[in-house]
């Protein structure tokens, strides 16, 4: 089964046809390099439209995925990720009433997380030689975290037509990075520090992000361990 392709195809249709998508990408890094990643896609402000689209077989030349397909792909993805070394507690919450999809998992190290995701993607023949998959988007050395988002995720917006891309302007993309000790400084000037100094947030739109990959890029320096 082509899980990644199925999920990407579903996201492509949903993003293309919904006016307001909200994405939250939330990573917590513990002092030992382990952590939790959470990813939330909220399409609840377009649920009438999504429901009417899901009732169709195809729209604008694109095949509309069936709900059962998406459920199956996500469940399969969950199983595969759970089997990977260094990954645990994989949870995927699928809310088809409000169209909110939440993914989260614990990881032993950022390397284990990246390796696991890359392995699942390259399991599929058509992604074996895709360069974007090799991209490392997380780097942690105990005192600083360098992060972006996987190049691979840009596949979705780059496949959209111009009129569909326009809709992404109304969406939001929020990237949060959390730590167990206070942040000392960070390089991205668009980022904001939480009042407790333990989390850094960057807000942008999926539309801006598709052409400016560095909007989310950040190197965050932590205060020394006590």
């Amino acid at each position: 089964m082509k899980i990644t392709q199925g999920i990407l195809a579903s996201l492509l249709v949903l993003f293309a046809l919904t006016s307001c998508v909200e994405i939250i990408d939330d990573i917590s890094i513990n002092n030992d390099g382990s952590g939790t990643v959470k990813y939330t896609i909220n399409l609840s402000s377009s649920k009438i439209k999504i429901n009417s689209i899901l009732a169709l077989d195809s729209l604008d030349g694109r095949r509309v995925p069936k709900r059962a397909e998406l459920e199956e792909n996500l469940t399969e993805f969950q199983k595969k990720l759970d089997d990977k070394t260094g990954i645990s507690n994989v949870i995927i919450d699928q809310d088809f009433t409000n169209f909110i999809f939440k993914f989260q998992c614990d990881f032993k190290s950022v390397e284990a997380l990246q390796k696991a995701l890359k392995e699942i993607i390259t399991d599929e023949e058509q992604f074996k030689n895709v360069k974007a998959v090799n991209h490392d988007w997380l780097n942690w050395d105990g005192t600083k975290l360098t992060r972006s988002i996987p190049d691979f995720t840009y596949e979705v917006p780059s496949s959209l037509k111009q009129e569909d891309l326009e809709r992404l302007k109304e969406g939001t993309y929020t990237s949060i990075t959390r730590f167990q000790r206070p942040v000392d400084k960070f390089e991205n000037t668009s980022a904001a520090l939480s009042k407790n100094k333990m989390a850094v947030m960057i807000k942008t739109t999926p539309y801006l992000l598709k052409d400016n990959h560095d909007l989310i890029e950040n190197t965050i320096f932590l205060s020394p361990l006590k």
């Binding site: 089964m1 909200e22 939330t40 429901n51 009417s52 030349g61 069936k66 959390r178 947030m201």
Partner: protein
């Protein structure tokens, strides 16, 4: 005087016996649209014409760049004679094509430039062929035709040859196709567009052993298709050119219709359409006498129409003819008094609405009278059982209650796009920690607003149903003047139900439910328009085309489709469908379209309209 008479007779004879394009319509055609006068289309350039979505289906010949800068008048077609478009689906094959007169054959082949001359099959008939179509020219008239065997026929013959050669099931190696199925058994197509485009059928391992001298399944299927294309093409042409049969000779109703002095003529033989397709193959095989009865019932069922074009009006006059038995059912069904209460719920500024008045009780009684004897003649246990159930239901069911609840008359209206209240989830961030939580808030989404209402004498029955449903779920609520079913439409929007004035109305229009549940009062449709609806037959429809198009949700159409809709936006036009009283023999319908022809290109306007209807109905 004698000389004058002789000359008149000779002139009449020469007109009568000179061949016309319609003489080349095969008798297998079950639907024909004939343009008697398409002068007004001459202004349309071929480049514009080929852009229309409906042209894609009709003709590939014009899509090869050879038409650049030309208009229809450069195509060599004789505009003083009729152009006929026909289609027919016969049991084993389909035919489609166009017949027209040629004014300049040299010019014609600058458009049909993919056609190569072939050896003639009949004396006096020139034959040309392209990849998909054949062009036959006789006495200055042309028949552009395509004959395709049905997929069922091709599969049947291919499978038969395949298994006779001792091969296994060609679909045995399922993994090769990577077919996945969802829980409902629907095939999930995982192939990308690139994979589909680059797919090479010859790579399929469909023979037990690879043998270059043997055709694989798909090669065999292509050969079967080609052989049957040739065979059926010859059958059709033999009938037309060797035996001299054509639709004009076969059906006098078509011949009579073609004599009408109108801009266009429409013909659809429903009875042959029913008999010659495979839709009823199961009944034909299992219940042959019932199949004969159904055919008898549909005999004489034909739809004939005329198109009249005036400066800023297009009128379609359509006559639906029936056989006596089917006609008797329709006559009873359409013998219904107009329910004037429906008018209270149609706003005077409404852009699209219809009313439909039928007497379901009378139709049921008549259908029972006609159908039961048919079923009684069938000596089959399944039919006998169903007949027994039908007769028992007829005895025991309270028909008074049933047909008083649902009398059959109804109305519907499209009230444009409105923002409706829904709920959405927002994530609220805590500035201290950037932790976030979900919060349900009110939102607005755009939705097409529809109203559908039925005449009833027993609103107490749906009220009973709703009362019980409201005990089962809190989503059904009695609001006093109306009922509401929360999140009924697309799991998000409420459905309102109004039970007043002898009507049961369902709508997603909050304004109608809350503020006008007794009708629009002074704002309801009135005066001439209302009078015209009341005196009408069983069906009436009125569409303010320009305003309705303006209110279509653009998001639901592709960029190209939106271009077409945009072309119609801003154009004013009103479409009105009226009908006469139904008799045993026929019902007449008139569709009148008034449009703004200030730019003088009525042909373009009509093509835009036709294409919009085609795009929307696809």
């Amino acid at each position: 005087m004698r000389l004058l008479t002789l000359l008149s007779i000779l002139a009449t004879a020469s007109i009568s016996y000179s061949q016309q394009p319609e003489d080349l319509i095969p008798k297998d055609a079950v639907s024909v649209f004939s343009l008697n006068n398409f002068q007004l289309l001459q202004k349309v350039s071929l480049d514009e014409l080929v852009q229309y979505d409906f042209m894609m289906e009709i003709q590939q010949e014009l899509f090869d760049g050879s038409t650049t800068g030309k208009s229809l008048k450069d195509s060599g077609i004789d505009f003083d004679k009729k152009l006929n478009i026909f289609y027919g689906k016969i049991k084993n094959y389909e035919i489609s094509g166009i017949t027209f007169a040629i004014k300049d054959q040299k010019q014609l082949f600058t458009v049909f430039d993919d056609f190569e001359t072939e050896a003639p099959m009949y004396t006096g008939v020139d034959l040309y062929a392209s990849l998909f179509n054949r062009l036959l020219v006789k006495n200055g008239n042309a028949l552009l035709i395509r004959v395709d065997p049905t997929i069922e026929k091709i599969d049947q013959v291919t499978d038969s040859i395949w298994y006779a050669r001792g091969y296994q099931n060609p679909w045995g190696d399922q993994d090769y196709y990577d077919i996945d199925q969802d829980e409902e058994g629907n095939i999930i197509d995982n192939w990308t567009d690139d994979q589909v485009e680059n797919f090479d059928p010859s790579t399929l391992n469909t023979t037990e052993e690879e043998n270059d001298l043997q055709k694989n399944y798909y090669e065999l299927r292509d050969s079967v298709q080609l052989v049957y294309q040739e065979r059926y093409f010859k059958d059709v042409c033999d009938d037309l050119f060797a035996k001299g049969n054509n639709l004009l000779k076969y059906d006098h109703r078509f011949a009579s219709q073609m004599t009408h002095v109108s801009e266009g003529v429409f013909y659809l033989d429903n009875s042959r359409s029913l008999q010659k397709t495979q839709n009823l193959w199961y009944i034909e095989t299992m219940f042959p006498s019932l199949y004969n009865d159904i055919n008898t019932l549909y005999t004489g069922n034909v739809i004939l129409g005329d198109l009249f074009l005036k400066d800023n009006t297009a009128e379609f006059h359509v006559e639906a003819q029936y056989g006596p038995e089917l006609g008797s059912i329709y006559e009873e069904m359409n013998d219904s008094k107009f329910d004037k209460n429906t008018l209270k719920y149609i706003h005077k500024d409404n852009t699209a609405f219809f009313t439909y008045n039928v007497n379901l009780r009378q139709a049921y009684e008549k259908a029972f009278e006609v159908v039961v004897p048919m079923l009684s003649d069938e000596k089959n246990i399944q039919v006998a059982y169903n007949l027994l159930v039908l007769e028992l239901l007829n005895e025991f069911v309270n028909k008074d209650a049933l047909f008083s609840t649902y009398k059959g008359s109804m109305f519907g209206s499209f009230n444009g796009i409105k923002s409706i209240k829904t709920r959405k989830i927002e994530f609220v961030f805590d500035e201290q920690t950037y932790d976030y939580e979900e919060k349900e808030v009110e939102a607005e989404e755009e939705m097409p607003i529809f109203t559908l209402g039925f005449s009833t004498e027993r609103n107490d029955i749906p009220a009973k149903v709703l009362k019980h449903l409201s005990k089962l779920t809190s989503r059904f609520k009695n609001m006093g003047e109306y009922w509401v079913y929360e999140e009924a439409i697309l799991d998000a929007a409420p459905l309102y139900m109004i039970m007043k004035n002898g009507l049961f109305i369902m709508t997603n229009d909050e304004d109608l439910a809350k503020n006008h549940n007794d009708g629009y009062g002074a704002e309801a449709i009135k005066g001439k328009k209302a009078a015209s609806i009341k005196k009408n037959g069983f069906m009436y429809m009125n569409v303010d085309w320009g305003n309705t198009i303006d209110k279509f949700p653009a998001d639901f159409f592709s960029a190209r489709q939106n271009e077409i809709l945009n072309a119609m936006r801003g154009k004013t036009g009103n479409m009105e469908l009226t009908s006469t009283k139904t008799t045993k023999e026929k019902t007449n319908f008139n569709l009148v379209y008034h449009f703004d022809n200030s730019n003088g290109n009525a042909g373009k306007h009509l093509l835009d309209l036709f294409n919009s209807v085609y795009v929307i109905s696809r």
